[in-house]
Amino acid sequence: MTVFDYAPAPESRSVVDIRGSYGLFVDGEFTGGHGEPFKTINPADESVLAEVACADEADVDRAVRAARTAYDKVWGPMPGAERAKYLYRIARIVQERSRELAVLESIDNGKPIRESRDVDVPLVAAWFFYYAGWADKLRHAGFGPDPRPVGVAGQVIPWNFPLLMLAWKIAPALACGNTVVLKPAETTPLTALLFADICRQAELPPGVVNIVTGAGDTGAALVAHPGIDKVAFTGSTDVGRQIARTLAGTRKRLTLELGGKAANIVYQDAALDQAVEGIVNGIFFNQGHVCCAGSRLLVQESVAGEVLERLKARMATLRVGDPLDKNTDVGAINSAAQLARIRELSDAGEAEGAERWSPPCELPSQGFWFAPTVFTGVAQSHRIAREEIFGPVLSVLTFRTPEEAVTKANNTPYGLSAGIWTEKGSQILWTAQRLRAGVVWANTFNKFDPASPFGGYKESGFGREGGRHGLEAYLNA
């Protein structure tokens, strides 16, 4: 360590008690599963964290039945004001146990503690607080005078924001009077199971929230179960398509929040240092494991050289390493499979002729790691400009006119998010109006809030989460 290096600043693991094995959470109880149990590992060092039960079709059926009974007997008939109080209780417990949740999230997912502590967990609490307040105000939400819950919701969430995606799904569903069966991702089940414990602590009636752990088969069994009324899915566009096909002709409701390939547009008059911070936040936040990540940088030609120079200088200061170190900016890639995909696409970028650059950066020898990477000389036809990489890999393209920027930005089957950097307000609004994307960040990036609708156009899915709009998926008006 030289004089100017940071000293290690590790967060303590002692606030979390990780058990050797975990069961499913069905009807208010932790129970075994009949599928083959699986292990969840710490992606930062590949150590086994716990063995987790796997739900087979019969287990999923049991969970759906528990949810149906709770819906019919308890949660559906309950006055909204009472449901609200349960959600407020959950929100408070999340705040009280925030350190524990953040540490466990970082251990299981690989994301830096700085992000799980400052972004994920505070947003989880905020989501429950926000939707708690809707529970007794649904008649005023604009979905008719007597909106009714849909029934039992089957929810499948990804591994990039395990706890936050759980909150996005469960909070509005419960506020509207639905009960849920949720399947977390197989690589990140632990915080969902800790959330189950929070439900017990809040004395939430049994069966209102059920958590079934497992991989794709468990999710498929849940989606196809005839006893659910609504499916909410966040994940890849390919799986979203499969789910839409499974649900064809069934009358089950569906919302999908799928992939993205966001354009982050930097105009020549942008405040460049702020833009560079935004570019870094856009693609290296959460190791780039973000569906709305700004993975395509579109920079106006006249400032492209300068932006790249400043970007590379900034990237050289990113600290990659131990997710539990409070100084870490970029943590571990979530799984070996994801690391392989990032490598494959990056190699394809080089093979197709783009120029690859990463800052000098020593990666840990154990675990799954990928250095922050930027590709220049990228053409729109390159795979790295078209396919979602879901990793810390930025593709840089240039443009000359605003029209060209918009055309290139919209040249994708996705339409989840976009960024605009310019000091000119009218140019922001002009550009924002023309971008076919559900979320547009102007002079900022990757901001989320429960009061704010989020969701995609085109093949990034349909439906919105957050805000009043987020209630619609869970109500029959």
């Binding site: 979203g240 547009v440 900022t444 901001k447």
Partner: protein
């Protein structure tokens, strides 16, 4: 021996603001409920459907880029033209078996419904949009936007059903390809004549007559169609059409509805996206 031989109308398609025959050269006879011949209607082909999608896509930037006030004006103009052809539509509905009073009432209901939807153009943003009070130094607002090209399988209510499907799709700025009722397609082409003379830009509405079972699967599977309204799809075809629509994750509006009922806003919002724009607040 009649004094005068009637001039019979040739019914064609309505694509990109023009009235072409089907490129396939096919037509099919349309009869009244007693089986008497009324007219030949064009029997649109897969190619016609694809041409119609191209026309709708081309019209989308212009139509969605109009001010809502202007779209409202044009839709109201369409209502004026509908009212002007009240007797013609009443006659056509009588050919489908309705009594004179029922037919006239349906035309009136269709005109009134069109007027109702026309008024939504400049109110959707206020009702479906939001200024979001996020917890941070940001100004953040959500606005509704049209989803793009919407394919619609119209129900067999030849005028009121057709109008009920069409108006909510285009009033927000979407463009559309509509497959008219198969057994009663004639009022649809007359409606197209109304649209063509109402300041509605060519390509915003493209109207196909023919066999639903032939046309709907191509529209459901079309990768440049953003949403599909299955209102008039036959129940036995819904699963297949939804399966095809999954190919590019189309928004799907499932069959539902009794046309005599007051419409809510569900048909409007089914074809809207919500765009949320964030900007920092500071000095």
């Amino acid at each position: 021996m009649p004094d005068r031989l009637a001039v019979r109308k040739t019914y064609k398609l309505y694509i990109a603001g023009a009235f072409p025959r089907s490129e396939s050269g096919r037509s099919y006879p349309v009869t009244d409920p007693k089986g008497r011949f009324l007219a030949n209607a064009s029997h649109a082909s897969r190619k016609d459907a694809r041409d119609a999608v191209v026309a709708a896509r081309k019209a989308f930037p212009g139509w969605s880029g109009r001010t809502p006030y202007n779209r409202g004006q044009i839709l109201y103009r369409i209502a004026e033209m509908l009212e002007g052809r009240r007797d013609q539509f009443t006659d056509e509905l009588r050919h489908t078996g309705a009594s004179k009073n029922t037919a006239a009432a349906e035309v009136d209901a269709a005109v009134d419904r069109w007027v109702w939807y026309a008024g939504w153009a400049d109110k959707l943003d206020a009702v479906a949009g939001a200024a979001n009070p996020v917890s941070g130094p940001f100004f953040n607002f959500s606005t509704p936007e049209p989803t793009g090209v919407v394919a619609a399988i119209a129900p067999d209510s030849p005028l009121l059903g057709l109008v009920s499907v069409l108006a909510p799709v285009i009033v927000s700025g979407n463009t559309t390809v509509v497959v008219a009722s198969e057994p009663a397609p004639l009022p649809a082409i007359t409606l197209a004549e109304v649209l063509a003379t109402s300041d509605l830009p060519g390509g915003v509405v493209n109207l196909l007559t023919g066999h639903r079972t032939e046309l709907a699967p191509w529209l459901a599977a079309h990768m440049d169609v953003n949403a599909i309204d299955l209102t008039g799809a036959l129940p036995e075809h819904v699963q297949d059409l939804e399966d095809k629509a999954a190919g590019n994750l189309k928004r799907v509006l499932r069959p539902a509805g009794d046309w005599s009922e007051e419409p809510g806003t569900a048909r409007l919002t089914a074809f809207l996206e919500t765009k949320t724009v964030w900007h920092p607040v500071g000095i």
